[in-house]
Symmetry: C2
DNA sequence: AAAAGTTGCGAGAACGTTCTCGTACATGCT
DNA sequence: AGCATGTACGAGAACGTTCTCGCAACTTTT
């Protein structure tokens, strides 16, 4: 059986004063004399007093918990984002509560609908990749739950704040790098249709091709999922196409790694014959052979910014729709070297 | 401003009955007629009622939150463990609250000491690798906080439940595999001294060597950290030693990958000249070239088991010290092939 | 028909905290 | 001296639940 922890009442009893005074003293309000305040603090320390979050939460309609809704944490990008969030949350006395959707829209919906509103002050959310609709998030907003989306954000029907990286510019720079490295027949293997992130990167890809008057072929733009396995499948499909591309730009490093593995398996020299470019700058990009050129995403910073934005909204207590875009950076490695 | 959510009182008012009856109806207690219960449930659903965790927590001295204290989540093993925990917790209506120590003993200590006891029903903990003492955990136990350690567990001075993998057997099998693959001069690069996990694997390594009458050399057993970078440093040290080993068994895959990178950089053929063996079965072990032989850890299962153990303790409400050991499995790949 | 048991429900306290109001006393001003 | 103002504190309600009693209204037993 858990013992009772020391409460404000115990302190009051010990000093023979009222609980109200103790409460004031602990929160350092003006309406208390320095002497009593010091006495209270001394006794509180002696009795190892810790405030009861359930009680404070009850009266303030608030906990110190922020929810993080995310498809999975078993990859570099997402776990780094969370680490950034944790850093900011922790600094401000907030805790992070984890909700994993396993990238399943149904599970995401179930979790959001069953969210106990009163146990969360706000939510940081990254939608699942095959999301069809966002009503469950709209419900949350209708109940005035502070909500910030990050990375995979829903379309503009949901009026709320978002934090993303410059997916369009990142993709544009990536393709430009491929072009400047001498590749001319550039394919793009990406995630599911309908996701802003995917569409923005695809648009950057297309616009870069057009700027340099390079061929745009519909069978060189493949939508599927985000996994390494799907990267392998997409790469195989590209190799079968009649007009084989000489470079592949993948929506993320895992798909790029999948492509590299397929090329190596077929005896195609990565870089020399077919260039490969990723997106993320997962540590794996330095380990895979050849090392993978990629676009470094500011994962940690994105986590920090998302959390900071949410906390700001909580502070102000008024709803403002903000959008933060963080810059990515090109990292050239061996997989895009022709010689 | 957040609006007020529907409470039990609203339901009571709507049906003109007492809050006590509503409370009973919602929890399906015997002392309520089927008709009123159905009416209450109907109204509750209509008003989208969600219980207030702060209130229930206050009266029950419990939240539905479990803490997870862990050095970092940006690696395959830890993030998979958490995914397993999340699965079990979620099934039982519990939430996971994340605490990252960044593998810093000071930060770990600060977090544990400042843990608001009343906002957590129990704690799952993995100690930081350079931990010197465990008093802060003892304090937690003294206050009857249910506590389960996993993976990196403290020594036996702390009387509490633990969940680990069979580190000794796993290491023994790994070294046995190296020996059976034809390697005879086997080194071990491992984590910091004093950690049970490290010592158990080191002991498995030593016992395997002794069983097969192979040389045991003190400069072939290097203690350092768990990172890839430290793996590289350790490998370089081994290559400089007068009697160069012909195989390296690393305490985890990241260090093994570090070793492989060093060997490749020096033009040494991994497998043929020097065999490399890891521990974890990180997905990277299939991507690195050559692919890495390793010992597959039951990360997901370990997460599940730890959480289950903690929940069991909460249920019974009595303290029992249990220890769960999960089996690991050998995975042979290219990095231990001599031909 | 009276006694005993059962069933369904309500009143009110409790959990630990904050907040509003009230009050006793001291101090400042005319 | 008389009044306003300020200071330090206490009493008690409130937050949303659960839990312990108690009490009617039935039902069963004798």
């Amino acid at each position: 059986m858990r013992p009772k922890y020391t409460t404000i009442k115990d302190i009051a009893k010990a000093l023979d004063i009222s609980v109200a005074t103790v409460s004031r003293a602990l929160r350092d309000t003006h309406d208390v004399s320095p002497e009593t305040r010091d006495k209270v603090l001394a006794v509180a320390a002696a009795l190892n007093y810790k405030p009861n979050f359930n009680a404070t939460g009850l009266v303030h309609q608030s906990t110190h918990h922020l929810g993080v809704l995310i498809p999975t944490i078993t990859n570099y990008y997402f776990s780094t984002v969370i680490t950034g969030m944790q850093e900011v949350a922790h600094q401000h006395g907030f805790n992070l509560v984890l909700y994993l959707t396993n990238d399943s829209p149904e599970r995401e919906q179930r979790i959001v609908q069953n969210l106990v509103r009163t146990s969360l002050d706000g939510l940081l959310a990254c939608v699942s990749s095959r999301a069809a609709e966002y009503n469950h998030f709209q419900e949350l907003l209708d109940e005035s739950m502070p909500l910030v989306f990050f990375d995979r954000v829903p379309d503009d029907t949901i009026k709320t704040s978002k934090v993303v990286q410059d997916d369009y510019e990142g993709a544009f720079k990536a393709v430009e790098h491929l072009i400047q490295s001498g590749y001319t027949k550039i394919a793009h293997i990406t995630g599911p249709k309908g996701l802003q992130l995917t569409e923005n990167r695809a648009q950057g890809y297309l616009d870069a091709l057009r700027k340099y008057n390079l061929p745009v072929r519909s069978d060189w733009l493949i939508y599927s999922g985000f996994s390494q396995q799907e990267g392998e499948m997409d790469a195989e499909k590209l190799l079968e196409s009649r007009d084989r591309p000489d470079a592949v730009f993948a929506v993320n490093d895992r798909k790029a790694v999948g492509a590299i593995l397929v090329l190596k398996r077929k005896g195609i020299r990565v870089g020399k014959e077919i260039g490969v470019m990723g997106f993320t700058n997962d540590p794996i990009s330095e380990i895979v052979s050849p090392t993978l050129s990629t676009v470094a995403e500011p994962a940690y910073e994105l986590g920090r910014a998302s959390c900071q934005l949410l906390l700001n909204q909580l502070k102000k207590n008024t709803f403002v729709q903000e959008q933060v875009v963080l810059r990515s950076q090109l990292v050239a490695r061996a997989s895009t070297q022709r010689i």
